[in-house]
Protein backbone atom coordinates (compact mmCIF):
# COMPACT_ATOMS: atom_id res chain seq x y z
CA UNK A 1 0.00 0.00 0.00
CA UNK A 2 1.38 3.36 -1.03
CA UNK A 3 0.83 6.55 0.89
CA UNK A 4 1.02 10.25 0.20
CA UNK A 5 2.03 11.08 3.75
CA UNK A 6 5.38 12.56 2.72
CA UNK A 7 3.68 14.80 0.17
CA UNK A 8 1.08 16.07 2.62
CA UNK A 9 3.68 16.49 5.34
CA UNK A 10 5.65 18.79 3.08
CA UNK A 11 2.48 20.70 2.21
CA UNK A 12 1.67 21.24 5.87
CA UNK A 13 5.30 21.85 6.80
CA UNK A 14 5.41 18.97 9.24
CA UNK A 15 8.45 16.88 10.15
CA UNK A 16 8.11 13.17 10.80
CA UNK A 17 8.60 13.88 14.50
CA UNK A 18 5.87 16.52 14.54
CA UNK A 19 3.38 14.28 12.74
CA UNK A 20 4.22 11.37 15.03
CA UNK A 21 3.61 13.55 18.10
CA UNK A 22 0.30 14.79 16.71
CA UNK A 23 -1.09 11.30 16.08
CA UNK A 24 0.49 9.73 19.17
CA UNK A 25 2.89 7.24 17.61
CA UNK A 26 6.64 6.83 17.44
CA UNK A 27 8.63 8.46 14.65
CA UNK A 28 9.62 5.02 13.41
CA UNK A 29 5.98 4.25 12.64
CA UNK A 30 5.71 7.30 10.40
CA UNK A 31 8.91 6.24 8.62
CA UNK A 32 7.52 2.75 7.97
CA UNK A 33 4.19 4.17 6.84
CA UNK A 34 5.88 6.46 4.31
CA UNK A 35 7.91 3.54 2.97
CA UNK A 36 4.71 1.52 2.61
CA UNK A 37 6.02 -1.20 4.90
CA UNK A 38 3.29 -0.93 7.52
CA UNK A 39 -0.50 -0.98 7.27
CA UNK A 40 -1.91 1.32 9.95
CA UNK A 41 -4.96 0.59 12.03
CA UNK A 42 -8.17 2.31 10.95
CA UNK A 43 -7.90 4.75 13.84
CA UNK A 44 -4.33 5.74 12.99
CA UNK A 45 -5.19 6.12 9.30
CA UNK A 46 -8.15 8.30 10.26
CA UNK A 47 -6.07 10.42 12.67
CA UNK A 48 -3.42 11.02 10.02
CA UNK A 49 -6.03 11.93 7.41
CA UNK A 50 -7.63 14.35 9.88
CA UNK A 51 -4.28 16.12 10.46
CA UNK A 52 -4.03 16.73 6.72
CA UNK A 53 -7.76 17.54 6.45
CA UNK A 54 -8.11 14.84 3.78
CA UNK A 55 -10.03 11.59 3.38
CA UNK A 56 -8.33 8.31 4.26
CA UNK A 57 -8.39 7.13 0.64
CA UNK A 58 -6.64 10.33 -0.45
CA UNK A 59 -3.74 9.71 1.93
CA UNK A 60 -3.51 5.90 1.67
CA UNK A 61 -3.62 4.50 -1.86
CA UNK A 62 -5.07 1.02 -2.11
CA UNK A 63 -3.97 -0.87 -5.21
CA UNK A 64 -6.75 -2.52 -7.22
CA UNK A 65 -6.20 -6.27 -7.62
Amino acid sequence: MKTRIKEFRARHNLTQDALALKVGVRRETIVFLEKGKYNPSLKLAYDIAQIFKMKIEDVFLFADK
Binding site: V25, E28, Y38
Partner: protein
Protein backbone atom coordinates in the same frame (compact mmCIF):
# COMPACT_ATOMS: atom_id res chain seq x y z
CA UNK B 1 22.85 13.93 17.48
CA UNK B 2 26.57 13.04 17.19
CA UNK B 3 27.21 14.63 20.59
CA UNK B 4 24.52 12.45 22.21
CA UNK B 5 25.91 9.30 20.59
CA UNK B 6 29.43 9.95 21.86
CA UNK B 7 28.03 10.73 25.33
CA UNK B 8 26.21 7.41 25.24
CA UNK B 9 29.32 5.57 24.06
CA UNK B 10 31.47 7.07 26.80
CA UNK B 11 28.85 6.29 29.47
CA UNK B 12 28.57 2.72 28.18
CA UNK B 13 32.34 2.19 28.27
CA UNK B 14 32.58 3.59 31.80
CA UNK B 15 29.68 1.34 32.90
CA UNK B 16 31.40 -1.66 31.32
CA UNK B 17 34.68 -0.93 33.04
CA UNK B 18 32.92 -0.35 36.36
CA UNK B 19 30.94 -3.59 36.22
CA UNK B 20 33.97 -5.54 35.01
CA UNK B 21 36.16 -4.03 37.72
CA UNK B 22 33.66 -4.83 40.49
CA UNK B 23 33.25 -8.42 39.34
CA UNK B 24 37.00 -8.99 38.99
CA UNK B 25 37.59 -7.30 42.34
CA UNK B 26 35.27 -9.73 44.11
CA UNK B 27 36.16 -12.93 42.30
CA UNK B 28 39.74 -12.53 41.08
CA UNK B 29 41.15 -12.76 37.56
CA UNK B 30 41.87 -16.50 37.65
CA UNK B 31 38.12 -17.27 37.69
CA UNK B 32 37.69 -15.91 34.17
CA UNK B 33 38.82 -18.57 31.78
CA UNK B 34 37.10 -20.23 28.86
CA UNK B 35 33.33 -20.49 29.25
CA UNK B 36 33.24 -18.20 32.32
CA UNK B 37 34.88 -15.43 30.33
CA UNK B 38 32.38 -15.79 27.47
CA UNK B 39 29.48 -15.72 29.93
CA UNK B 40 30.87 -12.62 31.64
CA UNK B 41 31.30 -10.82 28.31
CA UNK B 42 27.73 -11.71 27.31
CA UNK B 43 26.34 -10.46 30.64
CA UNK B 44 28.17 -7.16 30.31
CA UNK B 45 27.12 -6.80 26.66
CA UNK B 46 23.47 -7.35 27.63
CA UNK B 47 23.77 -4.85 30.46
CA UNK B 48 25.12 -2.22 28.08
CA UNK B 49 22.45 -2.93 25.45
CA UNK B 50 19.68 -2.76 28.06
CA UNK B 51 21.09 0.48 29.45
CA UNK B 52 21.39 2.03 25.99
CA UNK B 53 17.82 1.05 25.07
CA UNK B 54 16.44 2.39 28.34
CA UNK B 55 18.35 5.65 27.87
CA UNK B 56 17.05 6.11 24.31
CA UNK B 57 13.48 5.27 25.32
CA UNK B 58 13.61 7.67 28.24
CA UNK B 59 14.78 10.45 25.93
CA UNK B 60 11.93 9.77 23.50
CA UNK B 61 9.35 9.75 26.29
CA UNK B 62 10.67 13.09 27.53
CA UNK B 63 10.17 14.49 24.02
CA UNK B 64 6.53 13.41 24.19
CA UNK B 65 6.60 10.24 22.13
CA UNK B 66 4.79 7.14 23.45
CA UNK B 67 6.93 4.33 24.86
CA UNK B 68 5.13 1.84 22.63
CA UNK B 69 2.70 2.13 19.77
CA UNK B 70 0.75 -0.21 17.51
CA UNK B 71 3.67 -0.94 15.20
CA UNK B 72 6.27 -1.49 17.90
CA UNK B 73 3.85 -3.83 19.70
CA UNK B 74 3.27 -5.78 16.49
CA UNK B 75 7.01 -6.17 15.96
CA UNK B 76 7.35 -7.26 19.59
CA UNK B 77 4.64 -9.92 19.23
CA UNK B 78 6.18 -11.31 16.01
CA UNK B 79 9.70 -11.31 17.43
CA UNK B 80 8.40 -12.81 20.69
CA UNK B 81 6.75 -15.69 18.89
CA UNK B 82 9.85 -16.53 16.84
CA UNK B 83 12.12 -16.11 19.87
CA UNK B 84 9.95 -18.49 21.89
CA UNK B 85 10.04 -21.15 19.18
CA UNK B 86 13.81 -20.78 18.69
CA UNK B 87 14.42 -20.89 22.46
CA UNK B 88 12.40 -24.11 22.77
CA UNK B 89 14.71 -25.81 20.27
CA UNK B 90 17.71 -24.28 21.98
CA UNK B 91 16.69 -25.72 25.36
CA UNK B 92 16.06 -29.11 23.76
CA UNK B 93 19.55 -28.98 22.28
CA UNK B 94 21.02 -28.04 25.68
CA UNK B 95 19.10 -30.88 27.32
CA UNK B 96 20.48 -33.37 24.80
CA UNK B 97 24.01 -32.13 25.47
CA UNK B 98 23.61 -31.79 29.26
CA UNK B 99 26.53 -34.13 29.98
CA UNK B 100 28.91 -31.71 28.25
CA UNK B 101 28.33 -29.01 30.88
CA UNK B 102 30.52 -28.97 34.04
CA UNK B 103 27.52 -28.28 36.30
CA UNK B 104 23.81 -27.47 36.30
CA UNK B 105 24.34 -23.79 37.13
CA UNK B 106 26.52 -23.27 34.05
CA UNK B 107 23.98 -25.10 31.89
CA UNK B 108 21.05 -23.04 33.17
CA UNK B 109 22.92 -19.74 33.14
CA UNK B 110 24.22 -20.37 29.65
CA UNK B 111 20.73 -21.32 28.48
CA UNK B 112 19.21 -18.15 29.93
CA UNK B 113 21.89 -16.02 28.30
CA UNK B 114 21.44 -17.77 24.97
CA UNK B 115 17.68 -17.16 25.20
CA UNK B 116 18.42 -13.46 25.63
CA UNK B 117 20.84 -13.50 22.72
CA UNK B 118 18.33 -15.33 20.50
CA UNK B 119 15.64 -12.82 21.44
CA UNK B 120 17.92 -9.88 20.63
CA UNK B 121 19.00 -11.30 17.27
CA UNK B 122 15.46 -12.26 16.22
CA UNK B 123 14.06 -8.85 17.23
CA UNK B 124 16.79 -7.20 15.16
CA UNK B 125 15.96 -9.24 12.05
CA UNK B 126 12.18 -8.95 12.46
CA UNK B 127 12.51 -5.15 12.65
CA UNK B 128 14.92 -4.99 9.73
CA UNK B 129 12.80 -7.14 7.45
CA UNK B 130 9.43 -5.85 8.65
CA UNK B 131 7.29 -5.27 5.60
CA UNK B 132 3.55 -5.93 5.48
CA UNK B 133 3.52 -5.16 1.77
CA UNK B 134 6.43 -7.09 0.24
CA UNK B 135 5.12 -6.66 -3.30
Amino acid sequence: MAKNKSKLLITSIITLLLIGGIIIGFTGLETFRGLNLIILILIIAFAIIAFTKAFKKDREIKKGFPAEDEMSNLIKYKAGYHSFMASMYMWLFIFLLKDKFPDTETMLGGGILLSGLISFIITFFVKRNFNENPN
